[in-house]
């Protein structure tokens, strides 16, 4: 289901479920939304390839996403039991489970490339689309570089042992090369973006805009209205 929906529809569902979990009276509201969110994680459109779950022999792809949602939400239930009574634990636990399951499903179902194209097609500024895509691409690259710096410094004798002062000095020795090299590249990136036409105010041609049927647009509006209606009903 998730893979064929328009990216904005996926975002709307993933935002509406946690909103309703908090707006609707606990624990029933949270139970319904958590159930819907967990069922979504079992849908065929939720691909484990986009969820950082690793391989799980014997688990069907949908179950892998479900498992990720459950394992991410589980610690919250334990900590809630530690701090609160049972009714409060259930009320908050169901809300958190809804949030976690919705977003885990979203990450599994949403292709970043499709989202970027949807944003461009909808007339969003190319700069905003760039920020989202470039940040998603930059994080793993910088993480890999950070790991290489750590390994290189370890070869030079860096040790996690010692007092706090020694560890803070070691932290500086690891962090400074990473940050300075990344900042140095900002200039080159700016030059490259400029030369390839990413300037403020451009009207970029969408390359492969995902189809956005009227029924999905209506569904998104309906979700928004449902949340507003629930909010009004809750407080009036």
């Amino acid at each position: 289901m998730g893979g064929r929906l328009h990216p904005f529809t996926l975002l709307a569902i993933a935002a509406a479920l946690p909103a309703l979990a908090w707006i609707l009276p606990a624990p029933t509201g949270g139970a319904w939304t958590a159930a819907v969110a967990l069922v979504l994680t079992l849908t065929p459109g939720a691909s484990p390839g986009l969820t950082d779950t690793g391989s799980s022999p014997g688990w069907r792809p949908g179950l892998v996403v479900f498992r990720t949602a459950v394992l991410t939400a589980a610690p919250f239930w334990l900590f809630l039991l530690l701090l609160h009574d049972v009714p409060t634990t259930i009320a908050i636990g169901l809300r958190v489970t809804t949030m976690v399951a919705s977003f885990v499903w979203l990450v599994a179902a949403l292709e970043p490339a499709r989202l970027v194209e949807a944003m461009v097609a909808a007339g969003w500024s190319a700069s905003v689309a760039y920020l989202l895509a470039a940040t998603l691409r930059a994080v793993p690259l910088l993480k890999t570089r950070a790991q290489r710096i750590v390994e290189a410094q370890r070869c030079r004798g860096l040790s996690p042992r010692g007092g706090i002062a020694a560890r803070l000095r070691a932290l500086r020795a690891l962090a400074l090369p990473l940050v300075l090299s990344a900042l140095h590249e900002v200039d080159e990136r700016a030059l490259a973006l400029e030369t390839r036409g990413l300037v403020p105010g451009i009207r970029r041609t969408p390359l492969a805009p995902p189809p956005d049927p009227a029924v999905e647009q209506a569904a998104r509006w309906a979700l928004l209205l449902a949340c507003l209606a629930a909010l009004v009903r809750r407080f009036i």
Partner: protein
């Protein structure tokens, strides 16, 4: 017809007192390949940034003198991983990034992208994620990305740095082809041995100023070889104590020897 003209151009980077370019006068015609050679810090990269209208507009700093550009320019910088758009998840999309930003219709984007991919022998990699490519492959993608924007003035800063020998040969052939198509090409490179076949003119930069301009034969002149900027053949000839004039290429050396 001149594509680029620099007239007594000088440039200072922000917070620096000495200029990175001093009183440079240079022009590049359509259909011409001009090569910039010089030691590290000679100002070749800065000259390319000025030519591309990126200095001082993006870099900051101060420009004195006049720069006139007739055509849209595209510049290929030395490090491919900082030039990727960050917005593309396939090679095809990466190459299409620039044309899409120009607001071209999709059929024109597709035509330019497919043509650029073919020229750089990248068609088998079209659906690959750019983040998974080697440095050489990514550099070819970036070159294709610039060419897909159909610039009239193409600027290269050490374009062969990440390429293997075969990739470099493909690149030099492509540069000559671009000139035959009427594009103006300005190229900074330390691959001096390629220049006799690639460049129409060579500009020797030293300390931000133009020291000499000439045909590729310049790379066999005594002063240039003394500065460590001669071709390999000229350098070896000189180091062997053989008499001037130094040969530029193997063919010249064979002729001299005979």
């Amino acid at each position: 017809m001149r594509s680029l003209t620099l007239d007594h151009a000088s440039f200072w980077y922000p917070a620096t007192e000495s200029p990175a370019l001093r009183d440079v006068t240079l022009d590049v015609a359509q259909g011409e390949v001009v090569a910039l050679v010089g030691a590290l810090g000679a100002g070749a990269s800065t000259l390319l940034l000025v030519a591309a209208d990126l200095a001082p507009r993006v870099t900051g700093g101060r420009l004195a003198g006049a720069v006139a550009r007739r055509d849209r320019s595209g510049i290929v910088l030395p490090t491919p991983w900082t030039q990727s758009s960050g917005m593309a998840f396939t090679v095809w999309d990466e190459v299409a990034f620039g044309p899409a930003n120009l607001g071209w219709p999709t059929h024109e984007i597709a035509r330019q992208v497919d043509r650029a991919l073919e020229r750089l022998e990248l068609v088998p990699l079209a659906s690959r994620d750019p983040a998974t490519l080697s440095g050489g492959e990514l550099q070819r993608v970036i070159i294709a990305a610039i060419l897909a924007m159909d610039p009239g003035l193409v600027l290269f800063d050490e374009p062969a740095a990440e390429l293997d020998a075969e990739g470099a040969r493909t690149l030099w052939r492509l540069i000559r082809l671009l000139a035959r198509e009427g594009k103006a090409v300005l190229l900074a490179t330390s691959a001096l041995d390629a220049l006799p076949d690639v460049a129409d003119r060579v500009v020797w930069l030293e300390d931000g100023a133009v020291r000499a301009v000439g045909t590729p034969d310049l790379l066999a002149e005594v002063a240039v070889c003394d500065a460590g900027l001669g071709t390999s053949v000229a350098t070896v000839w000189r180091a062997s104590g053989l008499p001037e004039p130094y040969p530029l290429t193997v063919a010249h050396a064979v002729q001299r020897w005979q």
